[in-house]
Symmetry: C2
Subunit: 376 residues, 2 copies
């Protein structure tokens, strides 16, 4: 008969989730109140402001979807893509592939721009694809490819899309809080992230933000949004009645997880988002130097590496799964495996949010050195 | 600048969420581990068994959707309804209406069987509708209508649907754990619930269970499931590799919320589900007697009342919103308002899960007596 589950204590240096600041755990376990309680509504208003800070935007339509990052992706596609819309997806890893799946399921006429895994999205290829497909409505790409650790240039890709009259959908799941995501400065139209990774909140929520062009596309739809749960027209009536406005019940909000997200974002604000970016960069440099000393090669070239997601090649002759199992069992340290064509070939070492601290960098390097000595 | 949010302590006697057992809060704030960690996978296998107990089923496909009950509803409709399918929805409240919305968004040919709000679904009307629509593929109804407190007879409605060759989708959001939900004995094909209400876990997860007929309908689809996030074909590869099987990554599971759901279900198992049903019934009887002494009339006739959701009529001349505000402000007690055509006309008093205890019944009756004395 199952009894209370007591998880082990792990250092989480995979592709997410990351470890939680004790203040986030404390927030999570505060007493539950109703999702229409005035005290809760006040917290939500603050939360929207904090999310705007994280996304560096003034977009009114900035909130947290009540489900994981994958549902944030789906929120963007289900609301902004209509059957027959031409959608260009730039794929340079697993999550670009998932975007294609999303676009197809909503009846898009999808054009795929392929880039090598481990390289950023190629701006010239996007430009060419847009020239060849002048009726493109939406361009979608991943800023921070979690499967490879490559960072793409959202600013440039967005400029190109806009020049050709398309809006952009940007995946910032691994980016947000760890590297600059400047929604307003770059003119991003629709963007989604996750509550874990560099925000170090519990997984299960997906921060999203929509600008005017995206809202205009939503309002101009000829067909109903093919999802009740994710229909922004309905969700909005709950999330966007700022201040005294009356909130309409949509669904029961995940109250305690939202407490935790609020606290994660208070922590981000206390640190200062630029300081958070700098911390991720500095710890990454220490980690990268150490990994190179261990003879491990990065998948991504130096100029395009995400500080928060370090994919390195498994040395020849090393059983990669056995090594990860030893790290987990003997060191309570989690690092990530490769996905898709990189499965078995790479490890993914995360330096995200609360996990991204000097003690963890040193610990991870020391543990890796230990197990590599006897691996084979 | 926002700081840490400290919620007030409330007694939650609305339509949900309910209060959380301290053991559930403690589970929620245990250290996070990876969603592919062997320790987590072991917990998930237990969780599936505990959910089978709650649903009284042996269905292999029993798990928790990583989003609130509304997404559980959507999981049922998006997987089991194909464009052009004839779907009968029996509506006797708000949540039947939401089922219609769902069916329509997936292109169903929807037939609505209307029943009066506050009455259970009429079996004869369903029988007549099925005779008039012999090509019906799916019958959908709400066992426990949260908007009125009426309980419908899932056993009889399922028998009728099966006799006419249709499968059933049942909403058990408010039912599960509070009143009998006998999935196998009644032959229910697809059912969804929520993690809060009578399970008294945090909101944000949706337990679901699918039987053989539902899976056969899913497997026979001619069109892809129009949702990536909720596609059971994909979710399954993560949830159903029992024991040693390899789990495929689908999305980052809401780890800490799943700890909490596990603990809620351990509590249910310790109490015994029949004892939980009896507790809800016994406390309801005390509450109902007290409400009648206060001169408050129920919306639903005695034989069809849900013990966990007590909708009573607002006495003439009483400002219902002002009274609820006083209860919240002066007593930290939340009761619910009416929805839809019952807005402003009823209060909904929940007796769900951990909230359903004698001390809360007495407190609620005493607080109501106090505020009713001076209401007008």
């Amino acid at each position: 008969m199952p009894t209370t589950f007591n998880p082990p204590e792990r250092t989480l240096m995979g592709p997410g989730p990351s470890n939680l600041n004790p203040r986030v755990l404390a927030a999570l376990s505060r007493p539950i109140i109703g999702h229409l309680d005035p005290a809760f509504v006040g917290m939500m208003d603050e939360l929207k402001g904090l999310l705007r800070y994280a996304f560096q935007t003034e977009n009114a339509l900035t909130f947290a979807v009540s489900a994981p990052g994958s549902a944030g992706m789906e929120t963007c596609f289900v609301n902004l893509v209509e059957p027959g819309d031409k959608v260009i997806v730039c794929r340079n890893g697993v999550f670009g592939g998932r975007m294609i799946e999303n676009a197809n399921r909503y009846g898009a006429n999808t054009v795929v721009v392929e880039d090598e895994w481990g390289k950023p999205v190629d701006a010239q290829k996007l430009e060419d694809a847009l020239k060849a497909n002048p009726d493109t409505k939406v361009v979608a790409f991943v800023q921070a490819e979690t499967s490879t650790g490559a960072e793409s240039d959202t600013k440039t890709l967005t400029e190109i899309a806009h020049r050709h009259g398309a809006i952009v959908i940007v995946d910032a799941v691994t980016a947000l809080g760890g590297t600059p995501v400047l929604v307003d400065e770059w003119g991003v139209d629709a963007i989604y992230s996750g509550s874990q990774k560099c925000l170090s909140c519990v997984p299960g929520l997906s921060p999203v933000s929509f600008g005017e062009r995206a809202i205009a596309k939503l309002k101009a739809r000829k067909t109903p949004v093919p999802s009740w749960f994710l229909d922004l027209n309905l969700v909005l009536s709950y999330w966007t009645a700022d201040g005294g406005g009356k909130r309409t019940y949509h669904h029961t909000a995940p109250v305690n997880s939202l407490y935790a997200l609020h606290e994660s974002l208070v922590l981000l604000q206390e640190e200062g988002i630029e300081n958070s970016w700098a911390r991720h960069r500095a710890q990454h440099e220490k980690l990268a130097a150490g990994l190179e000393r261990l003879g491990l090669d990065f998948v991504v070239l130096a100029g395009s590496r995400l500080p928060q997601l370090n994919a390195v090649k498994v040395p020849a002759g090393v059983d990669e799964a056995a090594l990860r199992t030893r790290l987990l069992k003997d060191y309570n340290l989690e690092i990530g495996a490769g996905l898709g064509p990189l499965a078995g070939k790479v490890w993914r070492i995360g330096l995200m949010g609360y996990t991204c601290r000097p003690e963890n960098v040193l610990f991870c390097l020391a543990a890796l050195a230990d197990v590599l000595k006897t691996a084979g």
